[in-house]
Symmetry: C2
Subunit: 323 residues, 2 copies
């Protein structure tokens, strides 16, 4: 029996799973954030180490130390060669840590370092072919075909892109509320929703909240459900915003299909992230619109979590799968 | 002969003019920024004082100290009652300063404190009736009719609004370049323009520039001429961005017209700010589109600067004009 580690490292938490070569999950550990670009190398190292420790401790029927044959780290914001070099150094440091209840002398070829969209795709679908449409605080569409070719669309962040993300939906909601307040846009319940949410005397005071209290990207993204709810309750302005988000996500997904799939392929598209949890049937709208263009596409919610996808990617290194 | 001070205080500089009751400008002084919300009360006080000092020093044929009968301060970001209270306190401090070569024991009624859009309107048109369409780093449309009624549209800042501003044009340009690079948008010369502007190896590195170097709002707004130039040279994507900006500014202006003017009035609309200086004929496009809706509107460039408008507003306090 061989064992691998699959690690999903992001801006809010780090998940590690310990998997055997029958795809069985033996242990799972969760620790703090591990986006080294924001929190630094040392804190990232701590988080990953702690997630591994918990995952292995949880594997109760296993003799320790466990022999680890491969590892896959899927990390947010890791795509450039410089990033991969940093993560490799980080992994070296981790392997020198003799306190972890594992043995791992991994050849370079049994180490996978990739971005979080790939592990979300593989975990979400359960294998390595398909498309992931991630729409949480940010947004990105990423696909991989049978030949192993990949295509990424979006993922440019809250200033340069992230169309269809929770951040963009929330911003569009506040902008529309203020436009309506100005008399530039038809009337909308969003004015009252945002006013109540922040307990403002008048909606103009949104300026206070956003600029002077310096609301961050995540906090703003967390306002998207206000727009989603208004849309679900029939507000036309809110529904236009949701439709725009759907349009952007369909457009991005179509671009990935056109780039690496043939338009009549059977493709699974997995939707991940908070946006899809909305009450305004946003996933249904997305699926309807996408299937109109590509009738053989199937839109699904994730089958497994991204860390599981990382585990599968690590396992592939053991069997030497071509794609 | 009576004398007044007109002060235009903003985020990059403070201008003071000394004006007599025949609208003659006798002296002009420029000093640093005076947006107290960013730079603090003390620095604001210094800047205003220094601008006054220079303006009065420049008035060469005048016996010092000069008797000042009224003052108008038009300050960026000043609109809420709290802000006006702060500025009044600030003005009190200033009047206690006996080193300035002026005598001013001003009754409350001879002090005008207002936001920068009003002085831009009055300076830009040369009197107090009309509409100002300010599109610089941010954007706002502000109008005032013969009855003294005012209407503001926009001015919600770079996160919540500022449609048609240099910031929004620049952001739209970068977003379009990256969408085009993804394959989501038709090809555009903007990719190459931004790449060259920042000396990037590939356009993907825009992420580095925007997020890791933490480019500020003004620095981003300063990129708008890249989009304007591409539009002037015939790039379709860039032209769509300019057209969108025009559409937003026309919409905002129309809202002001509808709110406080009758649609067949003769109205002067003054355009202020960097956006209007572009090579893509943006003012012409704006005027054509606006005049289609309101045939008797006249779109002009500013006749005088905002500080001059502040001077005119101060003078009105002496003659007790009704509106």
């Amino acid at each position: 029996m061989s064992y691998v580690l699959g690690i999903d490292g992001g801006g809010s938490k780090t998940v590690c799973i310990l998997m055997d070569d029958t795809h069985q999950v033996l242990g799972r550990g969760v620790a703090g954030a591990s986006n080294y670009q924001s929190i630094g190398i040392e804190a990232t190292l701590q988080a990953i180490q702690s997630a591994i420790q918990v995952a292995v401790d949880n594997a109760q029927n296993l003799t320790k130390p466990v022999n680890i044959s491969a590892i896959c780290l899927g990390l947010a914001g890791v795509s450039r060669p410089e990033d991969i070099t940093v993560v490799k150094l980080l992994l070296n440091q981790l392997q020198n840590n003799k306190e972890l209840p594992i043995n791992w002398t991994l050849p370079e070829s049994n180490i996978v370092i990739c971005h979080d969209a790939l592990i979300a795709l593989v975990g979400g679908i359960g294998h390595t072919v398909g498309i992931v449409v991630a729409a949480g605080t940010g947004s990105i569409v990423f696909g991989r075909n049978h030949q192993g070719q990949t295509k990424r669309v979006g993922g440019w962040g809250y200033i340069l892109g992230d169309e269809g993300s929770a951040y963009k939906i929330a911003i569009a909601g506040m902008q529309a509320a203020l436009k309506s307040y100005d008399g530039r846009e038809m009337s909308t319940s969003l004015i009252e929703s945002f006013r109540q949410h922040f307990s403002l005397a008048i909606i103009e005071d949104l300026i206070e909240v956003i600029y002077r209290q310096n609301l961050g990207v995540k906090e703003i993204a967390a306002l998207a459900p206000i727009v989603d709810l208004a849309a679900a309750e029939g507000d036309e302005v809110a529904n236009n915003i949701i439709d725009d988000a759907v349009k952007e996500l369909v457009k991005a997904t179509s671009t990935v299909v056109d780039a690496i799939f043939s338009s009549d392929s059977v493709i699974e598209v997995v939707t991940t992230g908070s946006v899809w949890q909305g009450k305004s049937k946003i996933q249904e709208r997305f699926a309807v619109s996408l299937i109109k263009k590509f009738p053989r596409i199937k839109v699904i919610f994730p089958r497994y979590e991204p860390a599981y996808g990382a585990g599968l990617l690590a396992l592939r290194k053991l069997v030497g799968e071509a794609h």
